[in-house]
């Protein structure tokens, strides 16, 4: 085998999350009351456009979640297969060009020369202080000053054309599938989509998709020869870094909710349904946890984790594993600080539901307590869980940046937008400013969070029965 898969802790949890998501999707597709709100989501233009963007991010994140170790070239005399100690992901392999083309230090986007002057040995033996040529960025150009502009324009055009062809093919495929499911001709399907008269706004979805495809195709074409977003202090490609950061952001946004969900559900419903001393104990628990300022609690736990890790450095086989465990703990502790809000909401809802007629009817039919919770309470609070899940996501992505800035976020060796900002801000004092790391992190984070926020609004409008009544009546 040329490779062996590696499953990190967070990878395993992502798999669990995917499995849960698929189960839920399957379940929802069979139940009208769950299918209906989702139908509303995909029938909104904002809904589908943001969904496409979020899917693109999710694809990058998933590619970066499949980890493996490559087989090393067999050395003569050694029979046993040896695997590289380096843990890579599918994304790393796909971007191996970007990953391997490392420069010496900073260089601006599309630069052909380094950002700092160095002593260069001239062929005639003299030494000049000048900006040296980059090893990879624009290395194919003979006279960068003259050729660079044209080259960039040409390559962008090439990328755009490729992108347009790719998206054209893709759209054709979707049209064909839709035409089949509607039972109409391909042309009829195209006309319907173009007229924007379909129930699901396919036009918006496909336009967003095409725009994404063209953009990424242009970026890919340019990235073959340039550092599109420059390089950082150690010469690593910033575009690569920011793509790698996608997984970190997504994980924090989703795993945190996943790990806190069981506790919040169990305790919130128990407190509201059983009341009495159960309620008192649970309320005490969450008021106490809530009263510790979140950042300080996270700081305390992460500091303790650091102490533990530095004292037990031997028990981690690789840096990646260590960083991964720290990420997991960060999710856990973020979960501990954020479950109280959901718990309180669920408690309130359970308090209301336990008095509602259908619960009383079930009690008068002699249905057991736990059946009542499972059959009547739980399904009727799930919309709150879902709304909280999507609403919290963007806040958690933003929190990661702040925490990493305070050094209590993810491991410094891990790619994340917070770490990118953190290392870049020290260079803000330079003149001229090294701005590209910040800009890259800003661009990718803003797009993700904006899409998530808009999507969350659509989901909330579709699922909140109160809002639905207000708009429907």
């Amino acid at each position: 085998m040329p490779l062996i898969p590696v499953i990190l802790w967070t990878d395993a949890l992502v798999l669990v999350l995917l499995a849960l998501g698929l189960t839920f999707a399957l379940y929802a597709s069979r139940h009208e009351h769950l299918r209906d709100p989702w139908r509303r989501v995909v029938r909104s233009r904002v809904g589908v456009a943001t969904l496409v963007v979020l899917m693109a991010y999710a694809l990058v994140g998933l590619l970066d979640t499949v980890h493996l170790r490559l087989k090393q070239d067999a050395r003569p005399g050694v029979e046993e297969a040896r695997y590289s100690p380096e843990v890579l992901s599918l994304l790393d392999l796909a971007l191996s060009g970007l990953r391997e083309r490392q420069e010496k230090t900073y260089s601006a986007p599309f630069a052909t020369h380094l950002f700092v002057k160095e002593a260069i040995d001239q062929p005639d033996g003299t030494v000049v202080r000048d900006y040296p040529r980059l090893k990879y960025g624009g290395a194919h150009l003979e006279n960068p000053a003259r050729q660079r502009g044209w080259d960039i324009a040409w390559r962008s055009l090439l990328g755009a054309v490729k992108g347009i062809i790719a998206s054209g093919l893709f759209i054709l495929g979707v049209c064909w599938l839709l035409a089949r499911s509607w039972g109409v001709s391909l042309i009829e399907a195209r006309d319907r989509i173009l007229a924007g008269k379909t129930q699901v706004p396919w036009r918006t979805a496909l336009m967003t998709l095409a725009a994404l495809l063209v953009l990424s195709s242009v970026a890919a074409e340019l990235a073959l020869q340039y550092h599109v977003l420059g390089t950082d202090k150690v010469g690593e490609d910033v575009f690569y870094q920011t793509l790698k950061s996608v997984r970190t952001g997504l994980l924090i946004g989703t795993l945190t909710t996943l790990v806190m969900l069981p506790a919040a559900l169990l305790l919130g419903i128990a407190a509201g349904y059983f009341r009495g001393w159960v309620d008192d104990v649970i309320q005490y628990l969450y008021t106490t946890l809530n009263s510790i300022p979140g950042v300080l609690l996270i700081a305390a736990v992460i500091l303790m984790l650091q102490v533990y890790m530095s004292n037990h450095a031997d028990s981690f086989t690789s840096l990646v594993e260590r960083a991964d465990l720290r990420l997991l703990f960060l999710c856990l502790i973020l979960g501990v600080t954020s479950w109280t809000g959901l718990c309180r909401l669920l408690r309130g809802e359970a308090l209301k539901l336990r008095e509602i007629d259908y619960v009383q009817a079930a009690q008068s039919l002699g249905v057991g307590q736990f059946s009542v919770i499972a059959r009547h309470i739980l399904p009727n609070v799930m919309h709150i869980v879902l709304i909280t899940l999507v609403l919290d996501f963007s806040g958690l992505v933003l929190a990661e940046a702040v925490l990493s800035y305070v050094n209590i976020g993810v491991d410094p060796t891990m790619n994340s937008w917070g770490n990118m900002i953190n290392s870049a801000r020290l260079e803000l004092a330079r003149d001229p400013v090294v701005w590209w790391s910040l800009a890259a992190a800003f661009l990718f984070m803003f797009t993700l969070v904006l899409a998530a926020n808009l999507f969350a609004d659509v989901v909330r409008d579709a699922f909140d029965p109160r809002l639905r009544q207000a708009s429907g009546a």
Partner: protein
């Protein structure tokens, strides 16, 4: 005829998406004379409230007036600018709403809120405004107005709040007062007060009143003329006396026939099949055709025109069209004649009567449900809300006991206490010689099968996430009656059939059904476990009259077939008269009077029962009683008055009443009253 005060012509109001609008008001014509009370009558969703809001131009954001003319004397209201319209609102036209609880701003004192209206429309100086506010409060009969003006809405009772709303509407000396279901949220005794107040004010000020209501009794007692609305337009207009004597439109007739009353006891109530048509549809022909008993071919193809039948009496129906006059005579007979088959139920009622004094199935003695009030640093119990404070009743097989009382008297709590859904704090509930109070959940379970409940709100009483089949089958599963799913579903199909629904309904979700259908499903759920007793907690008060009739018929049939005992909790005395065998009247957690239904309704002995009965608006003029006015509101059950709980409001109280609670006096074998007067006269 003098010029009308307000004239509405082909008013059309739409809601929602303009490409696919809901035509909530569709070509409505009406006119109101100065000084008269004009009632707009209709069931829920017929567009009567939207009509009122259109006149005031206060439609919700998604609504708009698409066509029509609204003329107030010489002013065309729909052509006014918003600023000009503002002078009309609260000035020449005032409006009061259904929910006094939410219609007042909770953070402003009532005085401030009235003063606002006074300032805009009368332009008085600051000092004069305060005086005028007190004057208005006094005019609507609020005692101690100087003090009340400084209070916040939550400190007033529902009836008081509605009086404040009226005072606010009066501030601009309106020529027209629009009252949108002004008493629907109030108890009958309070309703009587408010209706009386409206009448008095109208006499003093000479204003016209547009009364919007669904209650035929209210119309009969207060209005001069009325219009019946159905599916967005008016189907009949008539002077009130004419209308109740000779309703012209088949819909109007059915409405009147579906009203429950004592003399209809032996038969079934008339029902209107089907449901109200969707208002986003385009109508061809008569809108009522699908549900009409006298439908003709022409009804489905042509839209009926407005026809004048007598002076001031008109209807939108082909029955009165001279072209189809041949059929009129024939068709007009049928609706009057249809009283339904009475033989089955009357026979069984008689059968039930014969063993009416048999051993009770369930008897509650001195049932108490007290909720503790905590107070102070250590949350000590400082008192109790005596929601139910010693209720004794007996339920017999095949008989219906009605538990009657106003909101807050503890009747629902008593029902749930009997079923052990709320733990009673005292007394005893014996079912077939077994004491139920104090049984653990597990030991109570065998009795759950026999004791069931049907709730008031058909929308909250079914889990929206479950299929109807699972809702009905839940008890079968929980009590282990039908453990296999196939058995269960077979039984569910039988039950759906029993309550008059298509067995296919089992595979659908509750939200797909109308209120009446849902209530049927709830009854099927209760019947699933083959109970002996069903507690019906206001099962029809959320429903329209015609739908209520269906449910009442169903309950009556089921009782006859299955010999069920009902504890029927209600505030509606006409339903009691129609359905109940015995009646217990509750006031502030206690039963003040109980006995056979005819004894109580024809010859009430307790002053509260008399007052309650007199306050109910009735359609027939000859049955009207003089309203006995009750002052004030029901006291809080946490601090009941000393002695007889009713004495502070009782018009006949005397020196003994504040000192001791009257003993139960047994007047006949079936009749018990708790009143010092009865004890005195005996």
């Amino acid at each position: 005829m003098p010029d009308p005060l307000i004239q509405v012509q082909s008013l059309t109001t739409q809601l929602g998406d303009p490409s696919h609008p809901l035509r909530v008001v569709d070509g409505l014509d009406l006119h109101i004379q100065a000084g008269e009370t004009f009632a707009l009558l209709g069931e829920s969703g017929c567009g009567k409230s939207m009509t009122a809001l259109s006149l005031m131009r206060l439609l919700p954001p998604s609504g708009r007036i698409a066509a029509g003319v609204v003329r107030l004397r010489d002013t065309d209201l729909l052509r006014l600018t918003e600023a000009e319209m503002r002078k009309i609102r609260g000035g020449r036209m005032g409006m009061i709403f259904q929910e006094p609880q939410t219609s007042l701003n909770p953070v402003l004192t009532v005085g401030d809120q009235i003063a606002e209206a006074v300032r805009i429309h009368e332009g008085r100086s600051r000092a004069q405004v305060a005086g005028r506010v007190v004057e208005l409060l006094r005019a609507v009969g609020i005692p101690d107005p100087e003090q009340r003006a400084k209070e916040f809405p939550h400190q007033l009772s529902g009836g008081m709040k509605q009086r404040v709303m009226i005072a606010m509407a009066l501030a601009g000396d309106p020529e027209l007062l629009i009252a949108d279901e002004p008493t629907t949220a109030l108890d009958v005794t309070i309703q009587a007060q408010v209706l009386r107040l409206l009448k008095d004010l109208q006499r003093q000020t000479g204003m016209a009143v547009l009364l919007i209501t669904h209650d035929l009794g209210v119309v009969a007692e207060t209005a001069d003329r009325l219009a019946v609305m159905y599916a967005g337009h008016i189907v009949e207009t008539a002077p009130v006396a004419d209308f109740f004597a000779n309703p012209a439109h088949p819909y109007s007739r059915k409405l009147l026939e579906s009203l429950p009353a004592a003399e209809k006891r032996s038969g079934r109530l008339a029902v209107i099949p089907g449901r109200v048509p969707r208002l986003d549809a385009v109508f061809h022909g008569c809108r009522f055709a699908e549900r009409c008993a006298s439908v003709m071919d022409v009804c489905r193809t042509r839209t009926p025109a407005w026809l004048e039948i007598a002076n001031g009496h008109g209807a939108r129906c082909f029955l009165w069209d001279s072209e189809v006059a041949g059929e009129v005579a024939k068709a007009a007979e049928t609706p009057h004649g249809a009283v339904g088959t009475a033989s089955l139920s009357s026979a069984t009622t008689d059968a039930a009567r014969s063993d009416e004094r048999g051993a009770p199935l369930l008897s509650a003695q001195g049932l108490q449900v007290h909720f503790p009030i905590h107070h102070g640093v250590l949350r000590r119990v400082v008192g109790h809300v005596r929601a139910v404070d010693g209720v004794s009743i007996e339920l017999r097989e095949g008989r219906t006991l009605a538990l009657v009382g106003e909101s807050g008297c503890g009747k629902t709590t008593a029902g749930k206490g009997i079923l052990q859904l709320i733990q009673p704090t005292g007394g005893s509930v014996r079912y077939r010689d077994q004491e139920l109070i104090g049984l653990s959940n597990r030991r109570m379970r065998p009795f759950r099968k026999d004791l069931q409940i049907v709730f008031q709100d058909p929308f909250a009483s079914m889990n929206p996430r479950m299929l109807v089949g699972d809702v009905i089958g839940e008890g079968l599963q929980a009590l282990g009656i039908a453990k296999r799913r196939a058995d269960r579903m077979r039984r569910v199909a039988e039950l759906l059939d029993l309550v008059g629904m298509d067995p296919e309904a089992a595979r659908r979700y509750p939200h797909e059904f109308s209120g009446g259908q849902r209530q049927r499903i709830c009854i099927a759920r209760a019947l699933a476990v083959e109970p002996r007793i069903i507690v019906c907690d206001e099962p029809t008060s959320a429903l329209d009259v015609s739908v209520q009739a269906q449910i009442l018929n169903l309950l009556k049939d089921l009782q006859a077939r299955l010999g069920l005992a009902y504890l029927f909790i209600t505030h509606d005395l006409s339903v009691v008269a129609y359905l109940a065998h015995e009646v217990a009247v509750m006031y502030l957690g206690r039963v003040v009077e109980r006995g056979q239904v005819d004894e109580i309704l024809d010859d009430p002995r307790h002053p509260y029962t008399s007052a309650l009965l007199s306050a109910v608006p009735v359609v027939e003029q000859d049955k009207r009683r003089n309203v006995i006015r009750l002052d004030g509101d029901m006291p809080s059950p946490s601090h009941p008055p000393s002695g007889c709980y009713f004495h502070p409001r009782c018009p006949q109280s005397f020196e003994r009443c504040p000192h001791s609670y009257p003993e139960e006096a047994r007047l006949s074998e079936t009749r018990v009253v708790s009143c010092h007067l009865t004890a005195e006269t005996r």
